[in-house]
Every structure is written in structure tokens, then in C-alpha cells.
Symmetry: C2
Subunit: 355 residues, 2 copies
């Protein structure tokens, strides 16, 4: 496979850049961007997210973190960085935050640990990298990117992926680095409910289906168009609370949770992953745009609000096309999201009623 | 997710049926099939397969095994069985044969063991099941099918998948059950070459790229249309010789190696998996058929002989549509393949020059 074996200096900076980045100033970019539009959108997961369940303080904290992530990614694009570097930078802010189900704050597996998945795709070359079930890599999205750039494979899993991470000198941490009290409480609640149901239903699988959707969600992701006209998409997640049996969701599946192709669009998905795999959601949005000659908004709405709703698959996507248009449809009660187009200010939203 | 929790009696029979099935008699089915056409196609891998490298005896053995597999699947369809049962039955013949890279005869990993991947999809319900990195499950395609029918997840991996297999009472074997002498010789040769190159190039990844394509191929698969009008696809593989780092290829990726949708077609792919993931080959053929309103032959040829050739991705697919049309394009020197339509005799082929 043709692959660049050398990361750009900016990529190296971004791969380890999490905090401390100054916020971009939208006004600086207005002039230059009329020539080369650029855009970025991020999500922090979709689900049963309703205003009544947030304190003012909580809501403020989520919005601030989303704003920080979108601005970090925007700044990369504004400085003529690549869309790949921008989506990595934005996702790493969300991975480092305890609010979202990726990196720190990842949900717990049935056994009480964390197994992280991530994937990334370059819309220019269609190079892609994905990892599943990693337990000790601080930034799963950085590992997915290293797979894209430095491995002959597209997807690595489990301990093998961690051996590769070590060889690539990525930062390793112990699994409890990802621990948070609120996710542990979630595990205990989910497990108690699951075990009660299991006693009644005598079947783990049937019991699992009675679990509230809030335990089945949570992903972070970013999509971007850079000034060079290239698209990229990235997704990172801790997967599903109380997941078992080495379950792999849609986040590390190229075509399901993540897809990017300059010929159409870049998509990162979040929701009930099993549906997103079966309907290969990310690639399907790109395919509909390219083959049916419809807009990004039409294609993403069709898949999220018709196809997935009909199937019973709850969730949403963020998507950007080669002109910088952004679409962020979701069929759940809310989706943590933010977007910013060149020369415009950032839009941050959480609930359904927001634009 | 809506799933049938009860396997049909026929599915149970097929899940453990490997040998001893009588060959179907094409003439018996001619009359009834004019009403409800059915079709099946299988592959045993694509690659640098040339007549000059086969003894007459070897070629005969391959053809006999392909004929056995296609006839076993055909018989299921002829008896009004489901396309799912037919593709499982055909794939299990190939998994049990030492000639193909799946089940017995699977290639060796870098560490000298076998890690098997498989996936299956029902074109009627879009239910799907996939497993990656399993070491002790006798029939990986039976496990993928159990995931489809009895798990709340679509994809399970590694040891977790094996725990699930045990719970499902699937037959377990020790990893050396899959051993064959010729694959071990292949491993030694590939490893020697790899280590020599690694010393020169000082880089495993660059060295891996110098490996001959014959080490990167090998998969088995089946696609079918049954008399009820339903499509199915299944793929099973040992992956890539000397694979490392928990590499996951396209075979267990729904949308890449396997896809089925009654609205378009069923596809099983074989080739250099990394390309098949990035170009989400199986789902893309279905998407082109559905969205561009082109034939199965046009869609599969476009992807295999234009898109993949341009990208440098070697391999092929087998595909069947809802009318029973079959397409089996490949861009490599050969592909082990067979097909049979209702009321017609079986076609078995290996080399490029064969029809």
C-alpha cells in the first residue's frame, strides 16, 4: 500500500497536544478563507441527552469543553494544517476530558476495565487506520493514526495493537488512567440491572436488550475540510457500558463509524454501533452523495432520519463535504456537537431544540 | 436489535455438517426452479494462481473440492433451505479442507499460530455476525452465525469471542487442529524472507511490503439467493501469512469483505484485505447497484477492475443479485471459484483464461 512513512512536523505536535492551545480568533481568517474554505465539526456522543438532566454548571462545562475542542481543531486548519492533524487535535481534547466516552471517562466493560477503539481516514489518499480493544494507549486516535502511517495493515486489535503502539513510542498508561467515578457508578447500576434481568430472563443477551440506551452510547469524533481541499474523519470511543466478549462496535470499523473520501464527504458516527455496522452508515452517506448526486444534508438526513429510524438504530453523525458544508443530523434526544466554518464563529449545541 | 433467537432446524444441521453430504442432482430441480430461481457462488481465494504451478493431480483435487462445496450449498437451496444455511454449508466444506486458507489449512501468524476471522450477513434482515482473532473454534463461520443470531453485538473478537463460542456449545479444538505442513513451510519461507529484508531495510513494515502477494491472500466465501428471494453472504479466513499485531483484515468487516442486502446484492470478497477495507468493497458494489441503477456485473466489474486496480488492490469478489445473476470478477491471475444456478450444472474454474 502506498503510504507516507514520515509524519509532518505538525502531525507530531498534534499527536501529543492536548491542553494549553490558545483559542483561534475567527476574525483573523476571514480574508484568506474566502479563497480556500475550511470547516470542522465535532461530536461528543448522541443519546438520551435532555436539558432537564443537567445542572447549569454541568451544561456550562460540557459547552466549554466542546468549544475548546472545536477551536483547537479550527486553529490547525486556520494555520494551513491538514484536516488529519485538525481532527486528531480536536479528538484528543475530547479523549482527555472525563465528560465523554473516549480516553479518560471511557465506560467500563463487564469485567470492570476499559477497552478502547478508534479509527481515522484521510479523504485524499483513502489511507486509514483503526484499532480495537486497546487498554493501555493514552490516545487511541494517535495509535489509529500511527497504524495509518506506519503499519502495512489498516486495523490492529488487542495486545498486538499495544505492541505496535510501544514500537511507535506512543505514550502508554495503566488502564486505571481512564477511570472516572461517574462511569464506575454507571457500571454498577448497569450491572445490577443486567444481573436482575438475567435472573428473570435466564439469558444474558435478552437481559442486555432491556438495558437503557444511555448505556449503549458514547463516542467522540471530528470531521474536517482543510485549505488544501482535503477531507478527514476520526472517531474514538470506550464502546458500550458492560460490553463483553471482546465486542467491537462501529467506531473502529472503516465504513461504519468513520469514512472520508474527497470525492464526497467525511463522516464520523455515534450511536448504537451494531446498527451503524449493519447499515455501514459513514460510507453509505458518502456513497449516496457520490452516486445519487444529492447534497451532504440530503444524504446524511436520509441515512440518519429515515434508514436508521426505520431500523431502530438510534444515534447521529457529523459530516463535512468538499465545499465545507456541514451536516450534523441525529435521531436521538441530543448530541454533544460543535462546528466552525472558515471566517465564522463556533456553534456549540447539545439538545434537540438547538439549531 | 430485532433478532430471531431460534435457529431453524436446518441451520442447526448445517452448522455441524461438513462431510458426507450427497451431491445434488441438477436435473431434479429444473421444473420447480423456473418459478423461484436460486443461485450460489463460492470462492476459495484469489491470487497468483497459474496453471503452470499445478500438477494434474493438484488441479483435480482443487476442482473436486470446489465442486463438492458448490453442490452442498446448492442442495440446501434446492431443498428450499435458506441462503444463510446454504452459504454456511458451502463455507464449512472449504473450512474443513486443507487446500484453502480458512479453518484447516489456515495460514500461520508471525508467532506460528492461527487466528481466524469470519463474517456472515442476511440480506433480508440485514442481521450480521462477525468474529476476529479466534484460535480454538472449529468452524469460524458457525461462530459468526451464532453471533448474528444469539448475541446483542455484531462483532466479537479474540478470547471474548471464544468464551461466547463455548456458551453457544460450538465445537472447540486446539489451535494445532488447523495445522498443515504446506502452510508451515510457507510461514518459514515468508519469515526467512521477511527477516532478511528487515535486516537490510531496518524496518518490519517496509520489509513486509516486499513480501510476495501469495502470502497476503486467501479467503473462502459463498453468496446465495434462495427460493424465498433472500440473499446471504459469508466469508471465512486465516488472514495473511506472518500477520502480526492482532491484524484484522477485510473478511470479518461487514461492508468490506462481506455484505448482503435484498435491495441489491450479496458479496464475498477475497484479496489484499487492507484495500478491501479502505474501499469498503462489498458494500460499495451493493451501493452502486442500488443508487446508480446498474447491473451486478457492471457494479462488481467497476469496483474490482477499475477502482481496485487503480488503487493497487489485488483480488476479486463473488456476487449474486436478487434475480439470481452471478458475477465473479477478479483482477489477479486466478481465483478458485464455482457457481451454480437453479436448473443448471455447476461451473468450476481456477485460472484467468477459464470462462
Amino acid at each position: 500500500m502506498k503510504k507516507s512513512l514520515i509524519l509532518s512536523p505538525l502531525a507530531c505536535v498534534c499527536a501529543f497536544m492536548v491542553h494549553g492551545t490558545s483559542l483561534a480568533n475567527a476574525n483573523n481568517s476571514t480574508l484568506e478563507n474566502t479563497k480556500s474554505p475550511f470547516s470542522i465539526a465535532i461530536h461528543g456522543g448522541a443519546g438520551t441527552i435532555e436539558k432537564k438532566n443537567f445542572s447549569a454548571e454541568q451544561e456550562k462545562n460540557y459547552r466549554l469543553k466542546l468549544k475548546e475542542a472545536i477551536d483547537v481543531g479550527y486553529e490547525v486548519l486556520q494555520n494551513k494544517g491538514t484536516s488529519i492533524d485538525a481532527v486528531i487535535a480536536a479528538v484528543q481534547v475530547l479523549e482527555a476530558s472525563p465528560y465523554f466516552n473516549a480516553g479518560v471517562g471511557a465506560v467500563y466493560t463487564y469485567e470492570g476495565s476499559h477497552e478502547l477503539d478508534a479509527s481515522i481516514m484521510d479523504g485524499n489518499t483513502l489511507n486509514a487506520g483503526a484499532v480495537s480493544g486497546v487498554k493501555t494507549v493514552k490516545s487511541p486516535i494517535a495509535l489509529a493514526n500511527a497504524v495509518k502511517d506506519h503499519s502495512v495493515h489498516v486495523m490492529l486489535s488487542g495486545e498486538g495493537a499495544e505492541v505496535f503502539a510501544k514500537q511507535q513510542n506512543l505514550e502508554l498508561v495503566s488502564n486505571d488512567y481512564f477511570d472516572t467515578k461517574h462511569r464506575y457508578q454507571q457500571l454498577l447500576k448497569a450491572k445490577a440491572k443486567l444481573e436482575k434481568q438475567q435472573k428473570e430472563l435466564k439469558d444474558f443477551q435478552a437481559a442486555h436488550q432491556t438495558l437503557d440506551n444511555k448505556y449503549k452510547y458514547g463516542t467522540v469524533g471530528a470531521v474536517a475540510l482543510d485549505q488544501h481541499g482535503n477531507l478527514a474523519a476520526a472517531t474514538s470511543t470506550g464502546g458500550m457500558t458492560v460490553k463483553r466478549f471482546g465486542r467491537v462496535g462501529d467506531a473502529p470499523i472503516i465504513g461504519a463509524g468513520t469514512y472520508a473520501n474527497n470525492a464526497s464527504c467525511a463522516v464520523s458516527a455515534t450511536g448504537h454501533g451494531e446498527y451503524f455496522i449493519r447499515y455501514h452508515v459513514a460510507a453509505d452517506i458518502c456513497a449516496r452523495m457520490e452516486y445519487q448526486n444529492i447534497s451532504l444534508e440530503q444524504a446524511s438526513n436520509k441515512v440518519v432520519n429515515d434508514v436508521l429510524v426505520e431500523a431502530g438504530g438510534s444515534g447521529g453523525v457529523i459530516a463535512v463535504d468538499a465545499k465545507g458544508n456541514i451536516a450534523m443530523p441525529f435521531n436521538s434526544k441530543g448530541m454533544y456537537r460543535a462546528s466552525r466554518k472558515s471566517g465564522e464563529s463556533a456553534q456549540v449545541a447539545i439538545f434537540k431544540e438547538e439549531k
